[in-house]
Amino acid sequence: MKAVRKIFDAGRRHFQPGGRLALLAPLFAAMETFFFIPGETSRRQPFIRDSLDLKRFMSVVILALAPPLLFGIYNTGYQASRTAGLPPDFLSVTARGLWIVMPLIIVSYGVGFFWEMLFAAIRRHPISEGFLVTGLLFPLTLPPTIPLWQAALGISFGVVIGKEIFGGTGRNIFNPALTGRAFLFFAYPARMSGDPVWVARLTPGVDAVTGATPLGLAALSQVGQKIETILAGSDFSFFRMLIGHHAGSIGETSALCCLAGAVILIATGVGSFRIIAGGILGVLATGGLLNLFAGPAAQPWFGLNPFYHLVMGGFAFGIVYMATDPVSAPGLEPAKWVYGFCIGALTVLIRVFNPAYPEGVMLSILFMNLFSPLLDHVGIALRLKKRIPNV
């Protein structure tokens, strides 16, 4: 501890105004405050302050991301090993998973951090901890076959266009990680959808291996078929989709791991249970409503058991980690219910009515991000109506 202190004390002068590295002062401050919470007495009333700061707040999200991250690493390695015919023992699978996933995370953090740093230096404001979350969320939403340069481009778009041009953390209207993913989705659709992208290739020269996802399979259903039967035919039982032991985006396959994350977020109060519960309600209500219109001549999607929507695709990951981003979500508690519900409902509607985008959760979260100021506005107007004025 003292040794670390010494390093910072020795280096500080270079980063101070007039020093050789004065432009990198935000980087120095970010490093220093990572190791030492500054010992400052509060100067304004009240003179006591909660022990929680934004670093801790964001670390809780990172902690909640651990289950899907760790499972994602294992699963990515497993899927790749299986199709390459390599031994599926736990250690080697995990090592291969790390080999595939770590470069993406490193690129995401590295490139994103570069942009954060650049804007912090120009604006002379501190580097925000929010990026620790964005930089990890983003790679977890990508297919494992994504080229690193595309990942770099995606996180750049997410940080710069999704956040910094609005003024940085706290002022962005869209979730930066999802903005980056949406950019890649529309800019490089071949790399972000279809069957060949979900399993990483371990042996060069081999053609793309296809690993169908539950959503991809469901999209192929014909009138008169039942999606549950198609899924079961490819060994996608409800339970298997809940566990997430199948191909898909790195972090999003396991609804169970997302549930574990949700428990952490809700227990610590960092994530809003209203958004998550609202989202689940939205899926079940909309899915259930569509069930009423299901018939032999209808699209098979109408008859899908609504609980399947919860475990298919990225809904669980999206509603737990993306929708609960407090910055882009509404701030009023009733509005959070509506926001979550609409995300759930829209996810189902996009899946059912728009076969071009089998994954609806990304678009529905971004869409509702756009509406969250409106939800707050309406919520505040309703509150103020009840308030006895004091002017």
Partner: protein, 450 residues
């Protein structure tokens, strides 16, 4: 009796609540009075260094209403007048004579009080230096005697930690309280007596007079919170308020004609907490010697949440019933945000301390750096008067004062909870208060009654 359940707020389990009988500390060489401890006033000095004053002599008046006097906490000689920046008067120090002379304002009995006109009573209290005890919502300014408020709210309790319970300051003073109450009834058409904690410790003659019971966490004791829950229309917004212990002082003054200076103070420091029976204007360094170590300690006069930072040269102010000393919290913490935090006090459940309910010591550290608002909503979740501080602050920062007022800016009771819970360490309380003050000054400038 009407029971009100106040939502939100915050209760913390803080060690070191003072307990037991009060020790006595009355003899001191010097006492002092600081005009800066009164909100909004513009002091006009009426004494100079070397003047002889009596206990209860008027030291300065408020330029806005020169009838409102501020009385000397001791009899003796004006030893010094300290000026701060821009000639603001920091403190007037009086060297106390061995035999203190007292100003005699004349004894009133119950019958005389009943026939005295409202104006004459107000003038009597103003001349006696007691009027500043009565304050008005929403700006917490000293009450304007020319205005008849819709009601006066008497709060018996203080939920701000470390304050003495009503039973302690009412002990043996129930008669004075009732006399003060009679006087207050002459000033406003209604007087509400509000209790927060169990009423069974109150003296029986007062227990029966309690009109409202507010149940809830801190700051359910605040008159602003009481008003928020009880007002039926905007007409009730400009109520006056006074604390129960000050009603006792009113009664003592009216019945004896002498300016009462005796005060029960709760002194709490990491070295131990105690009640002290002392006097108004007592040097803080005498009440708690730790005040002198102001590098390692922060001294808060007037309560943990709402008090002001005081220095070793300050004196016990008119509104201060508690003196709280906290460790300064100015040591950097190695990898602080990664620690499990079993002993870290927090409103959030992000530390292991959420798993137990043991008392946790506080310090005055900021525990992090200021960041942008992430709209976490914790400020709104604790706000006792249902303001949405995050949105109100945004309208304040955008200069939309009308919008901020519509949000309830004037309902803000300045309890400090929003700034306490904010993970981004935004000075919510300070910024909202600043906005209220600038609105107040604007109103005064155009000559409107705020």
């Amino acid at each position: 009796m009407i029971t009100i359940r106040a939502k939100n707020g915050l209760d913390m389990n803080i060690p070191g609540q003072p307990d037991g009988p009060a020790s006595r500390l009355m003899d001191m060489e010097r006492v002092g009075l600081s005009p800066a401890s009164f909100p909004h006033i513009r002091p006009k000095l009426l004494v100079k260094v070397g003047d002889k004053v009596r206990q209860g002599s008027i030291l300065f008046a408020d330029k806005r209403n020169p009838d409102i006097g501020f009385a000397s906490p001791g009899g003796g000689t004006v030893e010094s007048i300290d000026y701060g920046p821009r000639r603001a008067i920091n403190a007037i120090t009086i060297r106390v004579d061995r035999e203190e002379a007292r100003e005699d304002r004349g004894v009133l009995d119950r019958h005389q009080l009943a026939v005295l006109s409202r104006d004459a009573l107000a003038r009597h209290l103003m001349a006696g230096g007691l009027w500043p005890l009565i304050r008005s919502l929403p700006f917490r300014d000293i009450a304007d005697p020319a205005f008849t408020p819709p009601a006066i709210i008497i709060n018996l309790d203080t939920l701000d930690p470390f304050h003495a319970e009503p039973a302690l300051y009412l002990d043996g003073s129930a008669g004075a309280f009732l006399f003060g109450l009679d006087a207050l009834k002459r000033l406003a058409p209604a007087v509400y007596i509000v209790a927060c904690r169990k009423e069974d410790t109150l003296p029986p003659e007062i227990r029966g007079l309690v009109t409202h019971r507010v149940r809830g966490r801190f700051p359910a004791d605040d008159p602003g919170v009481f008003l928020y829950y009880t007002r039926a229309s905007a007409a009730a917004n400009r109520c006056w308020y006074i604390h129960g212990r000050d009603v006792v002082l009113l009664g003592k003054f009216l019945s004896s004609g002498v300016y009462p200076v005796k005060r029960l103070v709760s002194v709490s420091s990491p070295n131990g907490s105690r009640h002290v029976l002392s006097r108004l204007g007592a040097p803080l360094a005498l009440l708690a010697p730790e005040v002198r170590n102001h590098d390692t300690h922060v001294t808060i006069a007037g309560g943990l949440w709402r008090g002001q930072v005081a220095g070793p040269n300050d004196y016990l102010g008119l509104y201060d019933a508690a003196l709280t000393l906290l460790p300064a919290g100015n040591q950097p913490e190695f990898l602080g945000f990664l620690r499990p935090g079993r002993r870290k006090p927090s409103h959030w459940r992000a530390f292991l301390s959420a798993l137990h309910n043991d008392p946790l010591a506080l310090d005055a550290g900021r525990h992090g750096e200021e960041r942008a608002c992430v709209n976490c909503g914790s400020c709104a979740a604790v706000c006792p008067v249902d303001i949405l501080p995050q949105f109100t602050l945004k309208s304040v920062l955008a200069g939309e004062i009308e919008e901020a007022l519509a949000h309830g800016l004037l309902d803000c009771v300045e309890c400090g909870l929003c700034a306490y819970v904010c993970p981004s360490k935004i000075e919510l309380t300070f910024l909202l208060r600043q906005a209220r003050e600038s609105y107040y000054r604007e109103q005064q400038a155009v000559g409107e009654r705020p």
